[in-house]
Amino acid sequence: MPRFRNKKKVPFVKPVAKKQQQQNVDHITGDRIPRSFVFSRGKLPGSLKQLQADLRKLMLPYTALKLKEKKRNNLKDFLNVAGPMGVTHFLMLSKTATAPYLRVAKTPQGPTLTFKIHEYSLAIDVARSQLRPRCPKDLFSNAPLIVLSGFGKEERHLSLVTTVFQNIFPAIDINTVKLSSCQRIVLLNYNKDTKLIDFRHFSIRLQPVGVSRRIRKFVQNHQVPNLKDLQDVSDFVTKAGYGSESEADDEAAHVSLPSDLGRVNRSTNKSAVKLQELGPRMSLQLIKIEEGLCTGGVMFSEYENSKGSKTQESVEEQNESDEDMEEEQIDSEEDVENDPIH
């Protein structure tokens, strides 16, 4: 019997795994890595499903590429999974009779931005439209850069959009970042006249300046060039290639690199930045901003825009500190809308 007692004295302690926390943090900069889910609400037609797949690819590597959804999954299910997985953003695609919609939400509290997708082209459409679509192997192994342009700081809802989109991809620390990991770029351009946001996705390519295409290819490919048409070996070097070289000798696109990048791009030479579109392409219109995750008070709505801006101003004037007053304010806003005299 005493033996049993002895055994009891040492209870089994389950080792606590602290992996989860480490996963969510970049090991170099220590920043929190934002992660995302891209999924659909409701049934989508085929082309939108493809768009969803493209968006997932765009969000790589910190996203669930093969996220399985079922018809009975609701938002709460995703939210429950999001917590332990460290997912910070939801991208939701939905479809109504009028147009498809994209909602970008921060978990778990929100806010939620609702965009109407006016036009979109899939990655495959973009690739089809190109003569030589480009897809190097490690293209999707790093997160894309994001460029936000034309948003300005004046309007609140736009600045909110910029902050949300800035935080959707991991931040770049310029002191430690490797330029070879900058392979893609996502561009969001706000057009003030049409109030549309152009969403584009490009791949970044660097080319040495002042080197003909032939030599560049020769260095890159390790292939024996065809010298059949040439009189002398020196012709291969001196003879310029086709006229395509002249297309983008744009000084503005030239950069010098801190270190060598690949076989062709040397730190001693200047390199030209060339972008090629990857897709998907979208033109979005900001419709609505909600406080919570697809719920809560409406902070901005496109369709009551004139009133909305007025009330925003009144909000600024009246209460600076009290958050509790907010809801009352919203109520009063609604009253104002109903009142024709105001």
Binding site: T29, S121, V126, S129, S149, R156, I174, N175, V255, M299
Partner: protein
């Protein structure tokens, strides 16, 4: 059931006789076919005999009608012979299943019959000729018939109208279905645009230009920041300080902004009380809150405020 089938077989005998004359082996093939659809009706031997007898009787009647001229006297004799032979065969084929056995025997019997009758009157040949003529006539009649040139083609049914109606209905249904599908497809494809092939319009070029500008800016900033500390050893405190200073100076000069602008602006943005979530967002990028556990490492803590810039620097 068994009886009925038996009788039918009996009725079919004259046809089979012709077959039997040409090739006796075909009977076996037919046996196999029959096996597949065979209903398993257990029949005793006695019952078998009775059935067979009935069949034979029926057969004889049938043949009487057909051949007419056959003398009644000759038949019984032949039948007796047949009976004897059949009984022998039965014994041989006891092993096989009931239905099959019967079928095979019937054929065998037919074969014998024809042999028997060969010697006497040769009724099979005349019958063959007759049948051939009739068949030819019938076939010619069918082939010569001019088919009405209708949409449906040659239909042997009386209810041509009905069929036509049905087909028309189906057509309409299919059309409606197709239209519905088309509509659904159009609704699903709403907003889906194919980019023009191998051609960039001005707007796309403009966007690419903006993106390129952003990339160039970032790359230059990275270049400045990273090449600044090339000659220095970051482990030495003296160098580290220099690195830090240079880095910040280079970076902020690159961006053309004041050093503390970022935090100020972020705070200003977050202050609006109705925009609480906005403030929450800035918690994410705020260096103090984010790197509370890394404060002892000064270089990292200093740098972490920059990422906001590197991504948002392209506003102008």
């Amino acid at each position: 059931m068994a009886e009925e089938t038996q009788i039918q077989e009996g009725g079919n005998v004259p046809m089979k006789r012709r077959l039997g004359q040409k090739k006796g082996g075909k009977g076996k093939n037919k046996m196999k076919v029959y096996k597949g659809s065979g209903e398993k009706v257990k029949v005793n031997k006695k019952m078998q005999k009775i059935f067979r007898k009935r069949a034979r009787d029926y057969n004889s009647d049938d043949s009487d009608e057909d051949e007419g001229d056959d003398s009644d006297e000759a038949l019984p004799v032949s039948r007796n012979k047949k009976n004897q032979r059949r009984e022998k065969e039965e014994e041989i084929e006891e092993k096989s299943s009931d239905d099959d056995g019967e079928d095979g025997e019937d054929k065998g019997g037919d074969f014998e019959e024809s042999e028997d009758e060969h010697g006497e009157i040769l009724p099979g040949i005349t019958k063959f000729a007759k049948g051939c003529k009739a068949f030819r006539k019938a076939f010619n009649k069918i082939t010569k018939k001019s088919v009405p040139d209708s949409v449906l083609g040659p239909v042997l049914s009386v209810h041509q109208k009905l069929i036509a109606e049905k087909l028309a209905e189906e057509e309409v249904e299919r059309k409606v279905k197709g239209e519905v599908k088309k509509e659904k497809h159009i609704v699903g494809e709403k907003g889906h645009v194919q980019p023009p092939h191998n051609f960039l319009d001005t707007h796309e070029k403009f966007l690419i230009g903006i993106a390129t500008k952003g990339v160039v800016k970032l790359f230059n900033a990275v270049n400045k920041a990273q090449s600044a500390r090339k000659g220095l050893n970051p482990e030495r405190t003296k160098d580290a300080k220099v690195i830090k200073k240079r880095r910040n100076a280079a970076f902020f000069s690159e961006l053309g902004k004041k050093p503390n602008h970022s935090e100020a602006s972020s705070k200003a943005d977050g202050e609006g009380p109705s925009w609480a979530p906005l403030r929450d967002n800035f918690m994410l990028t705020n260096s103090k809150l984010k790197n509370w556990d890394k404060m002892q490492d000064t270089t990292v803590a200093e740098d972490s405020g920059m990422p906001t810039y590197s991504s948002s620097d392209d506003e102008d």
